[in-house]
């Protein structure tokens, strides 16, 4: 984890010549987005009660699968959105952020119930991964290739994995009873932030 941290910091401070610093901007994209960071804390709270390491690895694999496949099929997804005129619903410029607000509301509701069921968690990680990937793809300026994946989406991915590992590791140190109560309270914060942000960005 320390090596990963050193790598992230060194990457943040060095932009190689002949590059546009897309990897770094991907990292900043996640670190600057407060709603996303709050959602990540919510997700970490949900995954705390998984005991086996294999469960965490399977969540990571599912996350990566959905993340990469959304990036690959982003054109088809966008075509579907245009076909059903979903872009008229909110205005296409608001799409990348609105999906995050809805994720925040969904996470908040699920945190209230705090399910132990594995299927619910897998369903949530698919939704989370799809929305994050969709958000990244809409902000990406390159056409998807293996190299571009390493650039902008790779920077995002690195921060997501690093932060979620750290948050889960830190939260495991606390008493489960208090974490359970906190996750319920935190769920209400996420819902509040999601609703106000969504309505505000739709109105203004």
């Amino acid at each position: 984890m320390i090596i990963l941290l050193c790598f992230i910091i060194s990457k943040l401070f060095s932009i190689p010549l002949q590059e546009y610093g897309l990897f770094q901007s991907g990292m900043y994209n996640m670190l600057n987005n407060y709603i996303f960071l709050l959602c990540l804390l919510g997700l970490s709270l949900l995954f705390l009660n998984s005991k086996k390491n294999i469960a965490y690895i399977s969540y990571l694999v599912i996350f990566l699968l959905v993340y990469i496949s959304t990036l690959i099929f982003i054109d088809s997804i966008l075509r579907l959105i245009f076909l059903y005129n979903l872009d008229y619903l909110w205005g296409f410029d608001k799409f990348p952020l609105l999906v995050l607000y809805f994720l925040s509301i969904l996470l908040g509701i699920i945190l209230w119930f705090n399910p132990i069921n594995n299927l619910v968690k897998i369903f949530l990680i698919i939704i989370f991964s799809f929305i994050i990937s969709f958000h990244v793809a809409l902000k990406d300026i390159e056409i998807f290739t293996l190299k571009s994946f390493i650039s902008f989406p790779g920077g995002n991915l690195l921060i997501i994995v690093w932060l979620s590992i750290i948050l889960i590791y830190l939260l495991k140190k606390f008493n489960k009873k208090y974490v359970h109560i906190f996750s319920k309270i935190y769920g209400s914060w996420l819902i509040t932030i999601g609703i106000i942000s969504a309505i505000f960005s739709l109105l203004y």
């Binding site: 407060y34 709050l38 109560i181 769920g187 209400s188 509040t192 106000i196 505000f200 960005s201």
Partner: protein
Amino acid sequence: MIFTLTIIFILSFFHIEANAHSLVSGYSGFGSGFSHPMLGLDHFLAMFGVGVWGAQMGGRRMWSLPMSFPLIMCIGALIAISKVFTFILVEQVIALSVMALGCIILVKWSPNELIAILVISIFALFHGYAHGIELPRANDPISFISGFVLSTGLIHLFGVGIGYFCDKFYNGKVFNIIAILITIFGLYFLFKIYI
């Protein structure tokens, strides 16, 4: 050494922005959203009071009050943003909410959960409305929202923590001191509006 560091730490809360930073307004982004309820003593004491009251009653109410407050606050903020209708006497009700919460903690009122939530809902509506009015003025409103909701929640938790530990010392008499202080401040806010 510790004394000097403490003074520096306290003074760091009273900084002002350099005038050259023209983009920094009273309502910029996450930072100002976060500091808004913390530095506004009326908001701070009301939310702190809700946390202390929840902890004083104990049981489920310890977390159901801090959980409900932001959600109802959200409705108040939405009313302000959408301008569906205008609340009157907002400042007065906020000052009254501080005073009322102080009195409630002082008399150790312990109603059932639904009534307690109903009482704080009225206060939360007005607090949310006050925040909602300020939102369109922020440079980065979405970050401002995240900041103030997070800060509000943390003040609740702080109140719950203080209330939880108060119960264990001096037979809960610390509750009375906190309650009296909150009530005095509530009275002061109310007095300040009309002067």
